[in-house]
Symmetry: C2
Subunit: 154 residues, 2 copies
Amino acid sequence: MMNIEKKIDPKLNAEVRKIFTLYLEENKQRKTPERFSILEEIYNQIGHFDAEDLYLKMKRKSYNVSRATVYNTLELLVNSDLITKHQFGENHAQYEKAYGSRQHDHLICINCGKVIEFCEPRLQQIKESMSEIFDMEIKRHALTLYGTCKLGCK
Amino acid sequence: MMNIEKKIDPKLNAEVRKIFTLYLEENKQRKTPERFSILEEIYNQIGHFDAEDLYLKMKRKSYNVSRATVYNTLELLVNSDLITKHQFGENHAQYEKAYGSRQHDHLICINCGKVIEFCEPRLQQIKESMSEIFDMEIKRHALTLYGTCKLGCK
DNA sequence: CTCGGTGCAAAGCTTTTGCATCCGC
DNA sequence: GCGGATGCAAAAGCTTTGCACCGAG
């Protein structure tokens, strides 16, 4: 079985660590070791994950963090724009790294669950139009397309 | 307090009833009175709602349906394209009528929770591009913009 | 008459909370 | 040392399931 873990990238790790540190300081939050282990764990894996995935992975590596801390830290990371949170129509949230990857959206296969990421510059224009029409400042968006692989996908 | 219930529209009711009937027949499902009362209840109200809203509303009107039936019927209605299901970043699903309203997307205020609906023809082009690029048949999409009312909203 | 649908309550799952302890500042 | 953060387990909230009964076909 293929190893889907990315090699640890020390430069990226240092960068996100710095961003998180600044965020915590600006928001008068403590820089606990648990928070940084969670951040590191996230940035050394690829793809989407959920809170339970992450909790179990930390447990397996004997990090001894609790679910409460995982959820708390995920929220901090969302607020510091280091990860994004998705609700792809399931009852539980999925997350993914946000730093160092381009803004993108998702195309999901209804049959096999495959998630494809794509970039779509035209969305920017749509956001600008809506901002103007409704006099709102658009902070972010989520576009998900649902479809089926034409040649089957199982 | 303003009455937000729409007047019952017999023509619309008859149309959706017919669509649902056809769907049930095609899928060899029984045409139970509970399923039709739920459909009617949904089409005689406006705006977004969740399963619990609907369950309580039915109870209040002494329809004597169970949560299980509400959830079961909501799924059938989603599959028959009579309602759409949304996960606006919360942990519980919201639904809305789909028949007789134009395809639209949502703009949500992060502060006050206000939901604005908008139509955006340019999305169609995006869907066509992605369909071509990834060789997938796009069945549906969900676009949600998150922002803040520029003049405040409380 | 059959067997799928229903009501009810209990179970399941993700997420949140309460509380005693711990540790960053 | 103070007060926020943590771990643990219990609770909460939405949704699904098990089971006996009912009723659509």
